[in-house]
């Protein structure tokens, strides 16, 4: 380091003109709101578009799910506008990044609700995110909120509609299916936050009701990446089924360590209810072989040919967004689809955008078709009935093992 540099602390003096121009640029960017993505309606005569807000994690640790949600919304708004919009008005999409960070999210969501005055907000992936932004949207913002992700249940807030699967929908059929061949000993290794705690509480009841036993239920710090102690317990306790809710970054080392200990080789099974196609790259295929998930949609349904609607939808998404995250249920993309379609149906029924009128109409909204089939809101409960599918990983793909007999009840807020 030279004398000159240390004399002014290593910084060159910023020329005044450059300082002024950069300040002006920054001020301009702040004033015009750099950072929201606005997809304006393409109708030239559109004087009064309806504003749809998407608040999701475009960046940060769960950006993968957030981008799947945003892309789904982009595709759907385009389709809805091409078909004539809602109550004769086009939709305008406002996308805000919640950045996998609650404090950033609250500010950005406030921007959606207070500055852009959107008519509905869809989004939030994690439960902590939903809890952070729901007050800004529903109470202070007096706006409708649709939460699209699978979650732990018990969210019974007026004007907040949940369009993802609940513990009842994910566990009631899955756990008896896992136990069908006589497997009885479960382990619940879990990340330490609200979703695993409440999901396990529910899953434990189902396991015990079916004559099984939860040998251990253990919680780890969210960023734990070393699981040798847990894996040793799984092996020594002769666990039949590891029903886990570990999340990244611990997920890859956890599954690898379980595999390397020889758990699958001696006949053990892995099950995790957020596994979708976006997680297929996460492990080498041999480590995921036989893993069981339960969600409202898998690509295998489209590939099977019996669900032409799902297949067309998925093909359109893939053509539009060939790179990046795919259209997958565990990433909340299917929840976004259901949510936006139900809201569209509700606004058309209400004929206006008054919150109470639209909420009253969503309360009994039905959609004939969607990814995985139709779905309907259970009146008075803010949750949806939907078809559910149990899928097993085979050579890096999911195969459908069982399909629900019609729509499954959410079992919430009754």
């Amino acid at each position: 380091m030279s004398e000159r540099e240390s004399a002014n602390g290593g910084w060159e003096v910023l020329p005044r003109r450059r300082f002024l121009s950069s300040t002006a640029w920054t001020a301009g960017a702040v004033a015009t709101g750099l950072g929201s993505w606005v997809v304006p309606a393409k109708w030239a005569s559109a004087a009064d578009p309806i504003k749809v807000g998407i608040a999701t994690d475009l960046t940060g640790a769960i950006g993968i799910a957030g981008n799947a949600c945003a892309n789904t919304a982009r595709m759907m708004v385009e389709d809805i506008n091409a078909a004539g919009g809602v109550i004769g008005r086009p939709l305008e999409l406002y996308i805000e990044d919640t950045a996998s960070n609650e404090s950033v999210a609250v500010n950005n969501v406030r921007k959606l609700v207070q500055r852009h005055r959107v008519d509905v907000v869809l989004g939030g992936i994690t439960s902590s995110m939903r809890n952070a932004i729901k007050d800004v949207i529903v109470n202070r913002g007096r706006t409708l909120y649709i939460y699209p992700q699978l979650y732990e249940g018990r969210e019974c807030t007026p004007y907040l509609f949940c369009t993802g699967p609940t513990p009842a929908q994910q566990c009631d059929a899955l756990i008896p299916w896992l136990m069908a061949d006589g497997a009885k000993r479960f382990a619940f290794p879990s990340a330490n936050y609200i979703w695993p705690h409440r999901l396990n509480e529910y899953a434990r009841k189902v396991v015990e009701a079916n004559g099984g036993e939860v040998v251990f239920e253990e919680y780890y710090p969210l960023d734990q990446i070393e699981y040798s102690a847990t894996v040793s317990k799984i092996m020594n306790e002769n666990i039949d089924i590891v029903f886990f809710t570990v999340i990244p970054p611990g997920l890859a080392p956890f599954v690898k360590q379980v595999y390397e200990a020889g758990y699958q080789q001696r006949g053990g099974r892995l099950s995790c209810v957020y596994y979708d196609e976006n997680l297929l790259n996460f492990h080498p295929p041999h480590e995921m072989e036989g893993l069981v998930s339960c969600l409202d949609y898998f690509r295998a349904i489209s590939d099977g040919g019996e669900h032409q609607f799902s297949a067309d939808l998925h093909a359109r998404y893939d053509a539009k967004f060939p790179d990046g995250p795919g259209f997958a249920a565990g990433s909340a993309a299917t929840g976004i689809y259901r949510g936006l379609k139900m809201w569209e149906a509700a606004v058309n029924e209400a004929g206006n955008l008054e919150r109470d009128d639209v909420a009253a109409a969503i309360d009994h909204a039905k959609i004939e078709n969607g990814p995985g089939g139709g779905s309907e809101m259970v009146p008075g409960t803010y949750h949806c009935r939907m078809n559910m599918y149990i899928a097993v990983c085979k050579s890096g793909r999911y195969e459908i093992a069982q399909q629900s007999d019609g729509m499954v009840e959410p079992g919430e807020c009754a």
Partner: protein
């Protein structure tokens, strides 16, 4: 059971030591806390991913990764980092910013997705009842080798002498015709190269995601505080303690408590030996 526990603990400790090695070299030899270190680790992992995508052998990617990351480090040192030497606090912010840029760029390049990278040496060695991952065993051996080579380089070569001279007394080193600017650049590149190697070796075990390196950063800093700055063996010793206790505590207590205990014990140790546990002599 005690053998597989011991193996797992040593294996995890190796990863922590590898990460801390580069961070420790830069902190001890240059007095710069590189908050972007985790993202240089990520760059190493990303290099391996690129090789895998191109259909080239994984081991080739792992060989190239440290040099590629060292080159990036060298360019950054020449253009950005050298302006920070007079202001260590600003250097922390500056390296943090560089780290964020690297992380978010890689996140964009990999589409925000997770990617599994296969081990160059897949499979397990069965010893009686227990099975040991071949790759983890390889990492343990490479770690021992890298630590030895780095130690000899810094302690037994002329270059190592110049590096230590530049740390001890920059003005005197300059008057003895040592180009401290060049030495700093080389040291920084060397530290970055070690980070790249750590990332390349760990990515098969942990999968590639943009946040791969961040997880190790806090532990690495704790290791350096615990071991002490200014020596070669300080950070390594700290890393061994932090790595081993992180992996060992969950065997005997609730994992949440174990996570906290590592930090509590480290804070107690730092309180008792504020200059670090391993700071008897300078390198």
């Amino acid at each position: 059971m005690p053998i597989d526990a011991a193996f797992d603990i040593i294996s995890f400790t190796s990863f922590v030591v590898l990460v801390v090695l580069g961070l420790g070299v830069i902190a001890s030899m240059m007095g710069i806390f590189n908050l972007g270190h985790g993202d240089f680790v990520l760059l190493g992992a990303y290099t391996v991913f690129v090789f895998d995508e191109l259909g080239l052998p994984i081991w080739l990617g792992m060989t190239v990764a440290p040099f590629a990351v060292a080159l990036v480090g060298l360019v950054l040192e020449r253009t950005v980092i050298r302006r920070f030497y007079a202001a260590p606090v600003i250097a922390m912010l500056g390296t943090y910013a560089i780290g964020v840029v690297i992380r978010e760029t890689v996140r964009g390049l990999i589409g925000g997705l997770y990617h599994a990278i296969p081990e160059p040496l897949p499979g397990m060695i069965d010893i009686g009842e227990i099975s040991i991952s071949k790759w983890r065993l390889t990492v343990i051996l490479i770690t021992i080798l890298v630590v030895l080579v780095s130690y000899l380089l810094l302690r037994r070569t002329t270059l190592g002498l110049k590096i230590r001279a530049s740390l001890e007394n920059p003005a005197l080193a300059r008057s003895a015709a040592i180009s401290t600017g060049q030495i700093y650049a080389l040291t920084f590149a060397f530290g970055c190269g070690l980070a790249g190697l750590a990332g390349a070796l760990m990515v098969p075990a942990f999968s590639l995601s943009a946040d791969l390196g961040v997880r190790f950063l806090i532990q690495a800093f704790l290791a350096i505080m615990l071991g002490g700055i200014g020596t070669f063996e300080g950070p390594i010793g700290g890393a061994a303690l932090i790595g081993a206790s992180t992996a060992a505590f969950p065997w005997v207590m609730n994992p949440i408590l174990a996570d906290i205990m590592v930090f509590v014990l480290a804070i107690v140790a730092i309180r008792l030996r504020p200059t670090g546990l391993f700071t008897k002599r300078r390198l």
